[in-house]
Symmetry: C2
Subunit: 332 residues, 2 copies
Amino acid sequence: MEEKKLSMVDIAKLSGVSIATVSRIINKNGRYSKETERRVLDVIEKSGYQLNLNAKSLRTNKSQTIGVIVPDITNEFFAKIVRSIEKYIMPKGYTVIVCDSDESESLENAHISTLAAKGVDGIIHISTCADVKKIHDMVSIPVVYIDRRPKNAGSLVISDNETGGFLATEHLIKKGCRRILMLRDKNSYSTVRHRCLGYVGAHEQYSLAVDQTLIVEAEVSYASAKQAVLQKLQDDRTIDGIFCNNDNMALGALHAALELGKRIPDDIKIVGFDDIAITQICNPPLTTIRQDTDLFGKKSVEILLRMMKEKSKAFTDEVAVIPVSLVVRTTT
Amino acid sequence: MEEKKLSMVDIAKLSGVSIATVSRIINKNGRYSKETERRVLDVIEKSGYQLNLNAKSLRTNKSQTIGVIVPDITNEFFAKIVRSIEKYIMPKGYTVIVCDSDESESLENAHISTLAAKGVDGIIHISTCADVKKIHDMVSIPVVYIDRRPKNAGSLVISDNETGGFLATEHLIKKGCRRILMLRDKNSYSTVRHRCLGYVGAHEQYSLAVDQTLIVEAEVSYASAKQAVLQKLQDDRTIDGIFCNNDNMALGALHAALELGKRIPDDIKIVGFDDIAITQICNPPLTTIRQDTDLFGKKSVEILLRMMKEKSKAFTDEVAVIPVSLVVRTTT
DNA sequence: GCGCCTTGCGTAATCGTTTACTCACAATGC
DNA sequence: GCATTGTGAGTAAACGATTACGCAAGGCGC
């Protein structure tokens, strides 16, 4: 039961070669005969030998591991991105360490510290910070920032949030809305700001004045959004459309409207953002702006791999913008 | 920019002590004076030195890291468990590597291999396998199996699924249902089987015959569940209650019923399982059996920590059963 | 037959820690 | 005053891999 873990030395002894040869065979580095290879592989197989990746990392100074930091893994949008990242980077031989920052800067820093101490080769980061300069003063690991765009971020993968905001608002306008409530996240992430810009842009394009009182803030939760919309709809009876910062909030808005006896989409039309699963399941199904989580993973992995390869040279920062699209359902 | 990473040797030199002392100070192992401690800590602070955890793990043969394997991180129930595990184990100084097995046995094995190679100290595992004997022949790491109960699992943390099935069914019976459809997951995990046992048990307790044609299988997805229920409700007009294997399926069932013009809960009553967020948001809100994800994390961490501490001695397998509770909402 | 390349291996240094031994010195007990 | 104990440190040997370097033997061209 308590068998000592085998090391390369054991394998070398058991197969009558040197440990250098064993290493070469395991890494397929050449300089050995077919015959020895077979013998050694045989011994490895039979003995159940397991390479010690810690030793390997120590020696080679690469860990074949990346860190992924997300604000909340129970948020379906983030979970889907994580899944996509794993899907694209595992075939390249990397392991992923997922960290949940719980939207807290200090936890975020703690995670970065341990990731650095573990010697991860790179990080994909959905950061809660407004400015990430401190992080880069602290550690020098390739980082790709995704979804949100903090100050001093190098490489980036973000959705085209402004266009998203524009498409949503334009859609509402074309459907006849003239008094469109914009329900935005209280936090001022770039995602939020850009969606607002799109909202304003659409108004300009269609020669509608932007009424600042129609831009309302709430927490990023169903409950808070519902509360805020209940309030606002009672204060302002002219509202005929709502564009929400994300689908959870949109759901809150939807239910607030229904609770007040509004008919959806006749009295009020609603558009969300993200295109998570509930949007198809809720009643009525929610019109929304789809973000391509698969492409998020794919692009960020692509860029990170490139950065890690060129680690020594100063890599150039890359920015990838992921297109969004309007998905029309029943709330508009 | 390209500063060489500092090691303990550098710190030792810079502060004029030996590297042993530096190590002792970092690990607070005693055998140094307050005075030297201050000096060394100062140097460390100023130089931005980062401990190399790979070297440490290599030397000590423990990695302060655990692996968590889940079938699908985008499933809110699993994501919440992961979050809870992190919450309870991070304060103990452990990092978590989350692996998504995508419900595939081979991916599961691949993950276990890398986790073993990385030298994780323990694993918390929601396994897709029916039997995990092979795994334990392969590696000898403490593992706590949670949620599902495979054959040859050692330590376990599972919900009281049978009681859950019983409570759900009893509730339906008490509300007047006599022809209760049980919509079960196609896969035959222990969770599924036990919920069925509860369903049968409640029938017996209330002297109702179990009609096998009322036990219907479907994939664990909204769409598949909806499809199956649409079909079944058209075939059998006598059905007046539905107990579903999880909330996503229950939502499918709910919408199938609504689509057929049934009034909920007047014509048909529905109960789900898990208590994920949508159950409160959907329309009408779903009665369900709540699983305590927080306790799942807490218990499994507790047991795993114990197993890791007693690694050398043969630890005794522990089984923790998490209580479930009925949450009554509007579908019943 | 001589130089030179290639192939197939082995030797030993190295990565950054931890820790078992030392050891000097001071304090304490009797 | 002498044995004992405790304190603050240093030396060096691991941990398990990778890899630069060395070397022998065989093949090849000329």
